[in-house]
Symmetry: C2
Subunit: 336 residues, 2 copies
Amino acid sequence: MPLRPGRPPRVTISDVSTAAGVSAATVSRVLNGTARVDSSLVDRVHAAVATLGYRPNAAAQGLARGEWGTIGVLVPDLANPYFPDVLKAVSAVARSHGRRMMVMESDEDPAVEHDLVEDLMRCCDGVLLCSPRMPRAELAELVARKHPLVLFNRIVPGLPVPSISVDFHGGMTAVCGHLAQLGHRRAAYLSGPSASWANAERLRAFESARAFGLEVEVVECGATSEAGYDAVAAVLAAAEVTAILGYNDLVALGALARMRELGVAVPSAYSVVGFDDISLERVAHSNLTTVSMPRDELGRRAGELLEQLLVNGDDAEPTYLPMSLQVRDTSGPPRG
Amino acid sequence: MPLRPGRPPRVTISDVSTAAGVSAATVSRVLNGTARVDSSLVDRVHAAVATLGYRPNAAAQGLARGEWGTIGVLVPDLANPYFPDVLKAVSAVARSHGRRMMVMESDEDPAVEHDLVEDLMRCCDGVLLCSPRMPRAELAELVARKHPLVLFNRIVPGLPVPSISVDFHGGMTAVCGHLAQLGHRRAAYLSGPSASWANAERLRAFESARAFGLEVEVVECGATSEAGYDAVAAVLAAAEVTAILGYNDLVALGALARMRELGVAVPSAYSVVGFDDISLERVAHSNLTTVSMPRDELGRRAGELLEQLLVNGDDAEPTYLPMSLQVRDTSGPPRG
DNA sequence: GCCTGGTCTGAAAGCGATTTCAGATCTCCC
DNA sequence: GGGAGATCTGAAATCGCTTTCAGACCAGGC
């Protein structure tokens, strides 16, 4: 018998029912409004609830109803400025539908994602999987469980699971178009995590870029401003490169910092373009040219998608939300 | 009967037990390792679990064990760059003790905090309350419920609840000392949210500042860089002020941006000092003088405190973690 | 006045696990 | 060979709530 040590004795529904002189069923009916109850009993129940300080046990409710009233979200990295915005929107949507939000973080380790999702499935009505890096096979296995699941910022063709993502490919294509139009012919891309689908999508855009005369060479980098800072040396050594594309804004800002230190002029010597438009701009004063995405619309839509799925098993087509190019001060025509 | 529509039929422990030809009790014992079981049965159970894809229902476990295996965290604003770092650390600690993390956000509205905490208490073993703005009486009422609760970044004298906080008062005192030593006599403080205890603690430091010859006048501002940007006008109009203290770094950076625009020299005309040391510095290149706090140690400690409380009802003294002054480029001796 | 039909209520059966308790089995020793 | 004691197992109670089901009660119509 788990007599929780030092824990206060929980007030249960039967305490309320005896105090009010009614049955537990009636208490439940009153509190949930699931059936008409004589108004005198209603009053007695409410009074008893108030004096005893009764709060229904969520685990018991979950068990009895077959629903936890909770959604789960898995993100790769809570500290990444990207995800809190999304979480905020998802949490608001969830709350508006009376659900709570459980959060887990894989800490950028694809190997643990699967277990975490499995754990979320044990205690959540639905799961939102943000930017999962796990291989397609694992993802397919999770989808096969038929537990409500929504994919966020990863789209896997052929996998029957509601998905929503930013159109990374379109965003990067826009960046390339912008640079090509300015007259650039050769750019360096500071590449993100190799397991990342978002990175793969960006890379895919470079093929179409070739069509309008821009050649992009890939430099292994990472996702942090430190990585961007460190990658600058390799870029400057490359011949004929006149523009730098960052995997994200942090990388681009890191590179920008290094270039300032080295006295490399931006945008006259090199154009620098970011990705994501994390809203540090007002703070950073770098006026980085970048592409932005509607982060909270994205979060909201993802939340709604999950809710839809929970309520009436809707299975929609993958949604891509467009990114929009923000031309600011760090891009311009190449020298010469 | 809640036959969840479209939901897959859940595999229960009794499915496993019949498949393995043992009792449910044995399955439970095998999976939890709570008692010796004959190895042949162990194998049969594991085989059945694997083929059926069984995962224990968390709600049922929670009910039976009287423990949810979950902690709850309430933060005022997920988008505030401060909290994700804390959440990250808390989540890691929780996970290392086999617990999940539920997250809620009050969206800076003190009025909803109470209900959210109440909800968290219905489904979590313990609750971590971050920077609550609610009045003391409400807080006291929650504490009186005897549900494990830890206070983070708010300390209420006389309230018997484990608390941990950054030493805001000490941090701001250090800032004042620094400015006084440089020769400043009069500073403006861009004040944060008035309901915030953290803001009150900073204000309290100005009394001691007077002792070493620094007078601080308070300008209503807010917590965002926009607010800091807008507040500059009022400060420049004030006579004899030679230094500006931001409620936090965002405010200070916003002010800095505005001052750059106006051509006001920093630090020769005005010193500007931030608070928190959010790690945008590498990105912002503003080299703001500020005070920093060990955010993830803070999160870790808070998590451990809660765990302690859950395991052996420990009730410790409030802990203050020190802040450390980071003198960088935006502070210097006053002109003249 | 009795029977039908409609409301409202409570007893009891789940929900899916854990845990107690008692019975079955097995060993060992006298 | 039989009894004591130690192991292991399963039946059943329990956690706290929801929901079904049937009974109690009342009003109204013949």
